[in-house]
Symmetry: none
């Protein structure tokens, strides 16, 4: 379920974080579903366990997953969806850079929102 691009400039642990979030958003992973252990995923995608651990810690910090000692790691029962100001500001910063790049390329507002809608739908449960 996780596909890495080792050549990407995006750190591997962030790629894992993004992909887990993607599968949650898509409904492939539902609250309570188990996800592979750090070691198993590390083996599966041939990277060092430390990198997977870092990704899982980040996902836990964001309340996307929960680790139960001796049981394993699971998608959190209730995905934190409260739009707190800090996370909103962070998302907006990301969005700002993305919109800026589109504008520099000469895209119209319609083109940009078109891409956004397309991506939004792609991330929706099917």
């Amino acid at each position: 379920m996780v596909v890495l691009d080792l050549k990407s400039n995006k750190p591997i642990y962030e790629q894992i974080v993004e992909q887990v979030k993607y599968h949650v958003i898509k409904g492939h992973l539902k609250p309570g579903d188990s996800i592979p252990s750090v070691r198993k995923l590390a083996l599966d995608i041939s990277i060092t366990p430390g990198t997977v651990a870092k990704a899982y810690q980040e996902l836990e910090r964001q309340n996307i997953i929960e680790t139960i000692r001796g049981k394993g790691t699971f998608i959190a029962g209730t995905i934190e969806m409260k739009q707190d100001d800090v996370r909103l500001a962070e998302s907006k910063k990301l969005m700002r850079s993305a919109v800026l790049e589109c504008k520099v390329m000469g895209m119209t507002e319609e083109q940009v929102t078109g891409i956004v809608k397309e991506l939004y739908k792609e991330m929706s449960v099917c």
Copy 2:
């Protein structure tokens, strides 16, 4: 015109690149306008000239600015706005991460496109 966020995880040279692009997009900087010399900007924002030089070289690579030997640095006569495939794909990747974060926070499509439109307008010539 350039304001740094030293606490940001974004490299200083990228912040400079972004901000010059922003001012071009906003119309604050027009084709042919000069921008501060490497040394002057470095002094202004208290960083080392090498970092400014790196930002300027990146902007030149992207055809945003042009340097004229011994004269200084200027906003390019014609900003490259061709939407080539490579840059489109890169912008989409940025946008993907941004939209994903918004979705994880539980935003509706309307909320996301709302933010995008707001940002787009903020970046338009007033």
Copy 3:
């Protein structure tokens, strides 16, 4: 594998770029082959790591090499060989200066193409 000419007017980082390209063209370096780390090459040829890093970044921009985080730097899987207009024009400019010099020295067309063929063959896989 890299030999510097410190007396040359050509910057060191460009000499490195040229020589890596040469070895790729000659087949000494094949897709997937690793090249020395920034630090190792810097030590080997007694220059500062920053200069090697600059060369490697330029090679990456040209899709000649790829860096894998924490692993090192490698010859790109597929060397970009598409003859886009911009690069074609740049190559032609270089060639123009070279041919002009030859003509000023009084070379005939045969002499010039002779040298070109000789150089081309020298750069071919043996």
Copy 4:
């Protein structure tokens, strides 16, 4: 007769040198022909006289032009066309870089020699 590209990475004085050579090669300028004084050319192309002077010194060093005190500057009576080893080596270095770039772009020997022949003919007396 001289057209500058101020944005070029090629120094202005070199552009002047190249263009004078080009006009000589093309037969537009013949042995004994006068060329504009340093001051006149500087005015014509709106650059500082020092830069023109540097170009003329370089052309004189290469025996392309001659300056006669109080008379002006002229195309040399006999253009030095002896192919001495030093200049041959220099030309070959230029050509090497040009051919390397072409090869990296994937050009065949025929494509490269084709471009060379085209450029050679373009530089011939018409």
